[in-house]
């Protein structure tokens, strides 16, 4: 299953809730304000690094770049463009948006 998260982890519970339900081997795609979770050395980066042991984490490059976070990404978080987003949707059986 592919999960998408579009909220900042500092202001909303969406990422935390998503990670509680995401099962071993699932993919999590960070988009829009959700990409702030992909940044290194923040109050939530440990939580994201821990989650990487269980799930694959992707971040939308256009959203990272817009927010000046393109060069701050945690090791192991993979960047995708919109076509990569489409590929992730195609590769997984269903998509759960954590709005």
């Amino acid at each position: 299953m592919l999960h998408t998260v579009n909220k900042s982890p500092f202001e909303h519970s969406a990422l935390e809730t998503c990670l509680r339900y995401a099962r071993q081997g699932a993919a999590v795609l960070l988009i829009e304000d959700g990409v702030y979770a992909a940044a290194r050395d923040t109050a939530v980066s440990k939580q994201v690094e821990e989650a990487l042991k269980k799930v694959s984490i992707y971040a939308l490059e256009a959203d990272l770049a817009a927010r000046g976070m393109r060069n701050r990404v945690i090791d192991g978080v993979r960047l995708v463009d919109y076509e990569g987003f489409v590929d992730l949707v195609v590769e997984h059986n269903a998509v759960q948006s954590w709005l």
Partner: protein, 127 residues
């Protein structure tokens, strides 16, 4: 993929409800989708996680807000053969609620069980 999905006849639809009622309209409009969707004879489940559990609380009285109390409508779901209604146990507990506080009978499930239920769906509508 099982036969049903392969044939395109019946799909497993999951509605994930995560928003409290009244502060925003998502809860009400989601329920409208569920009711319309009931006519399509799909395999429907509802999940209530996070603040979504507040949609089901007893004793809602919206008179002073001048909006419609839509919580009784959940009781109609059974008439539409929608009875797979899952509520996250942790979400209830964090909010000081128990099954007895809810307007309809539900299946209270663990996070792990809820995750399994989500994993088994074809279409997930989240609001």
């Amino acid at each position: 993929m099982d036969e049903a999905t392969e044939g395109g006849a019946v799909k497993r639809f999951l509605y994930v409800n995560r928003k409290a009622p009244y502060g925003t309209i998502y809860a009400l409009e989601s329920l409208e989708v569920v009711l319309i969707g009931a006519a399509f004879d799909q395999d429907v489940s509802l999940a209530f996680v996070g603040d979504g559990v507040y949609q089901l609380t007893k004793g809602q009285d919206t008179k002073a807000l001048e909006v419609k109390n839509f919580s009784p409508t959940f009781r109609a779901l059974d008439d539409y053969d929608i009875n797979k209604i899952y509520v996250d146990a942790d979400a209830l507990r964090a909010r000081g609620l128990t099954e007895a506080d809810l307007v309809i009978p539900v299946e209270v499930v663990s996070t792990e069980r809820m995750a399994q239920i989500m994993e088994g769906q074809d279409v997930i509508l989240s609001f």
